[in-house]
């Protein structure tokens, strides 16, 4: 059962909602939870990383090299988080579409390739998979639900010890009622994708 999960993204993608939905679902499952994050980069396009500790731990931060899973809404942010926090043999699960930083946009720095990221992760015996969560979100009806798609995939691909119903309840509690149907559809599409493509990921 996973206990130390990092959630990475770019400010504005909704990674913080993912960490809170995961934590809220865990609480409904009667687990203890700690979430550590900062909101500075959020909305201003900076990196966002949330530490989610389920079931054990008193402090809100995951130690370096301790994250069993890093769920990322964006490849560069997943890579950034993994180099610091991913444990040997840990999982990096990332959305595949890049969100280019200003530095890359003006040609000041380079964006890493997906292949580079895979090679890097393999060097610490880690495992890595990328999915086009944006495509699934568009199918659900709104591109902004990409974050909830990723939550669904995480649920079905890994053993979190939390019933699916608790995730749905958490989504119902959190999102505006007019977006509920789309969000639940996005979650379902993410779940189905996880079941289909990565049944072996369950630890």
């Amino acid at each position: 059962m996973l206990q130390k999960i990092g959630v990475a993204g770019v400010g504005g993608q909704g990674s913080i909602l993912v960490s809170h939905l995961l934590a809220a679902a865990a609480i409904k499952a009667s687990m203890k939870v700690r979430v550590g994050e900062t909101f500075g980069g959020a909305m201003r396009g900076g990196p966002v990383f949330s530490h989610v500790k389920i079931g054990e731990g008193e402090s809100p931060l995951i130690g370096e090299c301790e994250a069993e899973l890093i769920l990322s809404l964006e490849p560069l942010e997943g890579f950034r988080a993994a180099v610091r926090f991913l444990s040997e043999g840990g999982w990096l699960v990332s959305n595949t579409r890049p969100w280019y930083p200003l530095e890359v946009n003006v040609g000041y720095t380079q964006y890493p390739t997906i292949n580079e990221i895979k090679v890097a992760i393999s060097e610490i015996e880690g495992k890595c998979f990328f999915l086009d969560a944006i495509d699934l979100a568009v199918r659900a009806g709104n591109i902004k639900t990409m974050n909830v798609v990723m939550l669904g995939t995480m649920y079905s691909a890994f053993d979190l010890g939390i019933d699916e119903g608790f995730f749905r309840e958490a989504i119902m509690d959190a999102v505006p009622p007019s977006t509920l149907k789309t969000n639940l559809k996005a979650f379902n599409l993410g779940v189905q994708y996880g079941e289909l493509r990565f049944p072996k990921a369950r630890s």
Partner: protein, 647 residues
Amino acid sequence: MVGGEWAKKRRRVLLLGNQAIARGAIEGGIGVASAYPGTPSSEIIGELARVSRDYRYYVEWSTNEKVALEIAAGAALVGVRAIVAMKNAGLNVALDTFMTLPYGGVRGGLVIVVADDPGAHYSSTEQDTRRLGAYARILCLEPSTPQESKDMTRIALEISEETELPVLLRSITRVSHSSADVVLGEIPKREGALGFNKHWGMPYRWNVYGSPGAVGKHRWLEERQAQLQQVAEESIYNSVHLVGASTGIVGAGIGYAYVLDVLDELELNSQINLAKVGTPYPLPATKLQRLLESSKQVIVVEEGEPFVEESIKQLAQRLDCRCKIIGKGAGSPIPLYGELTPELVRDQIAGILERSLRKSTKRRQWEKRWKDRISSRSSTLCPGCPHLGAYWSLRKALERVGGNVPIINGDIGCYEQGGYGVFSQQVTATSDVSRMYQISSSYEILDTNYVMGSGIGLSQGERKAGYCDGPVVAVVGDSTFFHAAMPAVVNAILNDADIALLVLDNKWTSMTGHQPSPVTGRTAEGKKSRALNIAAICKSFGAEFVREVDPYDINESTIAIEAAIRHKGFGVVILQRECALQRVRSRRKETKVMQVDEEACVECKACLQLGCPAIRFRNGKVNIDELLCVGCGLCKRICTMAGITDR
């Protein structure tokens, strides 16, 4: 934020530390809540405003932290419990009142919440405001989790009433902005104690100068310290657990949480005498004495300055105790700057107890090998941000005024990103006087930046000292104008300083989460209210040069800024356009987006210098990200080839 589930009456919910503080204030029976937005404290009053219609208390965003504290103090003087919240720098603004209020104290409970920011994720300094609690001689509580944040807030209000002094609750980013499962408590019926008595318990109680005068009230305050000491001794948030070990560890605030995790990981629980400190001032001397007298060495783990460490050293000296006290700074893996992390705490404890460090050499080498492939990602101004237009216009105006070395004095808010220096990582600093550095984007434009409202005073000082190597300009936002800048503006008008002031009025206090400012026309609870007019205010102060322009209109803005700079004396240009994020949120239909005509593009890269994150230079051509673009048209206006159009 998930967790605003109070109405659903669940007992155990996910709460952000700040939401927990808000809940604690309601459980503590507040009647008044006030604050000025300041990260990481803003969600406290934000949450109280969000749920206020379910409870009966008054809540507001005040013009600045000093006013906010005075509003809460006013409530306390007439017997009503109150909470005021601010960030670390905010306490500096409120310090006059903070230091003087304890000379006489309060009747209704008053809790002053200050959220520090170790690591300076959101702040200009890492200052540790526990020192200011001790400076003001009031009880300081330091929570280590969101649960404690809630409970301590409620208890602070009770203690404040018992001791007749305000109580400081010192939170930090990693508690205020962390989330955890929190068990909710009951909400009491608020009992009326409303009334005013000018000689309540002491002649001229609320009047520092009235007999017995300031010294007499200082004496009263000193006599109260014994009562505060008693509170600390009896507090459940201070504990000591002896196991007969030779090493002890004291964890203060969140330091305790890190210590627990490290002791678990290293399996040292039965081998360490452990103490928790939840009242860094005053320290629970009796409990700590037991620890000091049974340990050969004691490690102190705390977030911020070595405040508890120094106090424990003083205590050990008073007790004539030989115990070695180990903290942060020289000789420790934990430096005096930067925030605590699990690694630092682990390294310190593991080092002293001779356990191995976690990270292998192989891992360190791996990280080093890959770190250059991880591009930095600077935070930026948003697509469509009016400040992009304002800064572009300022650059153009400076070019037109010609040569020389301008000084652009910045301020705090989203526009402070004009000083983040995103592309200046390769600057070679020199000691040449008045050296002109290239401004290559909106992010290199601010030359000075300290605190709220400081740019205007600095500008005047630069001029009055005789600086004449170039234009002197100050930049300020709408919220900051009222918070801090007005006295400096009055000063500039009276001394006729030859400076230009740009007021970037985007209608909201944006950086901290879009709280209303005095120009917005909304209350904290979202009701309509009066909206003040900055141009009218400047004119009423007697400013002779006041112009209002739209920062999306680059031509108009550049002309106005140039004229303000050329004007001999104080010139004000107010650049008014609502924050793009707020506009996008309130828009119902799809917005237009811009696109680049690839054949027209000559790669001059003028549009890239605008600083908009939606504009990309890929494969030799400029391209606009249709998911990010909000269609403001700034790039269209600055394109040298008229190559950007509506899609």
